[in-house]
Amino acid sequence: MNDPEMVVSAQALCRTFGQVKAVRDVSLAIPKGTIYGFLGPNGSGKSTTIRMLCGLLTPTSGTATVLGLDVRKQAEKLKQQIGYMTQKFSLYEDLTVQENLRFIAEVYAIPGKQRRVRVQQLLEEFDLQEQRKQRAGTLSGGQKQRLALAAAILHEPSMLFLDEPTSAVDPQNRRDFWETLFQLAEQGTTILVSTHYMDEAERCHQLAILQQGVKVADGSPQALGRGINVNVVEVTADSANQVRQAIRSIPQVSSVTQLGVRLRVLIPKELQDPAVMVKQVLQQNQIVAQVDQVIPSLEDVFVAVTELQAAEGEAA
C-alpha cells in the first residue's frame, strides 16, 4: 500500500479540536534524504500535522506511516527513530547545556562511554563548547536553537521534524543552521521543516503550502513556480501608489504586492500578453513605468495559491 521508498506517507490526515478543523485531508509523500518544507502562515496546521506525524496527536481520520511505522499504533517504537525540535524551546532552562544533553542521551539509553563521546562531539559540532556549563535559560536565541537541534539529533534519528526552528534566530545563525540541515540530509536523514520564511522554503528540496489546514500546493520550489496558473508582471515606477490604484481597476488582476519601488502583479494565465495589457492601462492613466513579465518567485506562488484558496472558500 505504501511506497517503500517514502519515509513519510500520509493519506487524508484530518484533525479537529472541538469545532475547529485544524488539518483537513492532508496527504504527503516524502522520499528519503529530502528536506521537505511546510510553508504557511500561523494557524495553517503546520504544527498539528507535525505532531500527528510524530505520534503526539492522534489523527481524527486518515492514516500515516513514518519510517514504515503506523503513527497511531506504533508511536512508541517510532520515537526511538525520530527527532523532534519543538517550536518553543523545550529543554530544561535550569539545567546547563551539558546536563541537558546528558539527560537526553540517558533517556534515549545511549550506553555510558558512547554517551560521553556523543555529547562531546555535539558540543564541538554545534559550537557550544564554551557554554557547556551555562544554564540553558541564559543562552542567546541562536545558541538555544543550536542546543535544541543538537538534542534532537543526539540519538542519530533517521527522520527529523523541525517546527519553525528559526523563528527566534538572526540571519547569520539561520544560514549556519541550514548548512547543518543540508549536511544531515546528505548523510541520509529525512527532514521535515516548517517555516513562514520564503527564503527558507526556497531552500527545501520539496515543499507543501498549507493554508487553513489544507494543503493548497506541493512540489519543488521550481515546479511550483511553473505550475501556478498566473503570470507575473513586474512594474517599476516612482509613484507606486498611483500604479497600484490604476492596476486595481483591472478586474482580472488577482493580486498586487509592493516590494519597494516595484510592484508584482499577478494576472491569470488565460489572459494573453499580460505585460501589454498592464502597459495600456498605465498609459491611459498617464503613468510612466517600466513593465516586464518575470519568472514567478515562491512568494508569488504563495500569494497565488493562498488567494485562490481564500476565493474558493468564499465561493463555497
Binding site: C54, L57, T86, L91, L95, I104, E106, V107, Y108, A151
Partner: protein, 366 residues
C-alpha cells in the same frame, strides 16, 4: 537495564533542578522548623464516645452499675470486655482504645471503705484532650453513690496516665506534625512536578522520547522519598531536642511507616499533577486535601470525638492512618504488626493513586 538508566536520568535531573530552586529547597528545611514552633499548643475541646474497654474483675452489682453510669454519660463507648489489666494495656498499646476502666476484685469493699480509689482509669495520656476527659470522668455523679451512700464520690476513680505522665501537649503534637509536614510538602512537590513540565513546554520534548510513563513517575517520586525521610529525622530530632519527645518504638518501624506514608503522598501528588492544568490548580487541589487532613486526621482534634461523618471522611485520608501509626510507634512503643489495618489502608491508597496517575498520564497531546 535501559529502564533503570532512564529512571536514574530523571532522578538526577529532578535533583539538579531541585538544588537550583532555592524556594523549594528552603521549604524542605524551613517548613519543619516553622511548624514545630508554631504548633506549640493543643486545642482543647469537648469529646464524646471515646473508644474504651473494661476489665471488671469484681463483676458485682456495684461494678456493673458503675459501667452503666459511665456508659450513660456518653463520654466513653465500651467496645471490649477483657479480663485483666494487662489486656487493657495491650489494647492501649495497639491504639484500639483511648481509655481503659479497671475494676479490681475488691471493688465493693473499696467503695464502702472509701480509703483509696475504688477503680482505675487507664488513659492514653499522649493526647491532652483525652486526659482531660478522664479527669472530668472522676467527678461524674454515680447513681449508687448518691442513693446508698452519703457524700460525694471524689475517691471513686483514680486516673492512671500512661505514656505521658507529665501531661505535656507537645508529646502528642510532634509526632502528629511529622504527618502534617509530610502531607504538605510531599503532595505539593509532586503535584506541581508534571504540571510544571507541561507549563514550561518540557513535556512535549519528554513525551517524544522513548521514556515510559512508569519510568517517568518512578524517577520523579524517588528523589522526594529521600527528602521526606530527611524531614522525618529533622522533626523527630527537633522534637526530642526541644520538647523531650521520646522515641519508644523501633526506629525501623518509624522508617517503614514513614516510607509508606511518603510514597502514598507522592502518589497522591502525582495523581493531582496529571489532573491539574496549571501549577496554580495543582496547588489549589493540594490545599483541598491538606485542610481536611489537618482538621480531621486526629492531629488537631481527637479522632473519636468527631461525628461519624467526619470520621468516615477521615478514614479516607492518608494522614489519619499515619497519625495512628506514628503516634503508636513513637509514643506508645507499639509495633507495625499491631496496627496492620492502618498499614494496609495506606498501602491500598498508594497503589490506587499511583495506578490512577500512570493511567491518566498520556504520552500524547490530545
Amino acid at each position: 537495564m535501559n529502564s533503570l538508566l532512564r529512571i536514574f536520568a530523571i532522578m538526577r535531573k529532578e535533583l539538579l533542578q531541585l538544588s537550583r530552586d532555592r524556594l523549594t529547597f528552603g521549604m524542605i528545611v524551613g517548613i519543619p522548623f516553622i511548624q514545630l514552633t508554631l504548633f506549640g499548643y493543643a486545642i482543647n475541646t469537648d469529646v464524646r464516645n471515646l473508644r474504651a474497654a473494661v476489665a471488671d474483675q469484681s463483676n458485682s452489682h456495684l461494678s456493673r452499675e458503675l459501667i452503666a453510669d459511665i456508659n450513660a454519660s456518653q463520654v466513653l463507648r465500651f467496645e471490649h470486655q477483657v479480663g485483666t489489666a494487662e489486656e487493657l494495656e495491650d489494647l492501649l498499646d495497639s491504639g484500639q482504645i483511648a481509655i481503659g476502666l479497671y475494676i479490681p476484685e475488691d471493688f465493693d469493699r473499696r467503695v464502702v471503705a472509701r480509703e483509696r480509689q475504688a477503680a482505675q482509669l487507664l488513659v492514653d495520656g499522649t493526647d491532652p484532650i483525652i486526659l482531660g476527659v478522664a479527669q472530668r470522668l472522676t467527678s461524674v455523679p454515680m447513681s449508687f453513690d448518691t442513693q446508698r451512700m452519703n457524700g460525694p464520690a471524689e475517691n471513686l476513680l483514680e486516673v492512671h496516665n500512661y505514656y505521658n505522665p507529665e501531661r505535656r501537649s507537645a508529646i502528642n503534637i510532634v509526632p502528629g506534625l511529622v504527618g502534617v509536614i509530610l502531607t504538605m510538602t510531599m503532595v505539593l512537590f509532586t503535584a506541581v512536578a508534571i504540571v510544571r513540565e507541561r507549563e514550561r513546554g518540557n513535556l512535549e520534548l519528554l513525551i517524544n522520547t522513548p521514556v515510559r510513563t512508569t519510568e517517568l513517575m518512578l524517577g520523579k517520586i524517588a528523589p522526594y522519598v529521600v527528602i521526606g525521610l530527611i524531614q522525618v529525622v529533622i522533626i523527630l530530632g527537633l522534637g526530642w531536642l526541644f520538647f523531650q519527645v521520646p522515641l519508644r518504638g523501633e526506629r525501623l518501624d518509624v522508617l517503614w511507616a514513614s516510607l509508606l506514608f511518603i510514597a502514598t503522598n507522592l502518589s497522591l501528588g502525582l495523581f493531582i499533577s496529571t489532573s491539574a492544568k496549571t501549577q496554580f490548580q495543582a496547588m489549589q487541589m493540594t490545599f483541598f486535601i491538606f485542610l481536611p487532613s489537618i482538621l480531621l486526621s486526629g492531629f488537631m482534634f481527637p479522632f473519636d470525638g468527631m461525628p461519624e461523618l467526619a470520621r468516615n471522611i477521615a478514614e479516607a485520608l492518608p494522614l489519619t492512618h499515619f497519625n495512628r501509626l506514628i503516634r503508636g510507634i513513637v509514643l506508645r512503643g507499639a509495633d507495625l504488626q499491631s496496627m496492620l489495618n492502618d498499614v494496609l489502608a495506606l498501602l491500598a491508597m498508594m497503589v490506587i493513586m499511583l495506578s490512577l496517575a500512570i493511567r491518566r498520564f498520556s504520552k500524547r497531546l490530545d
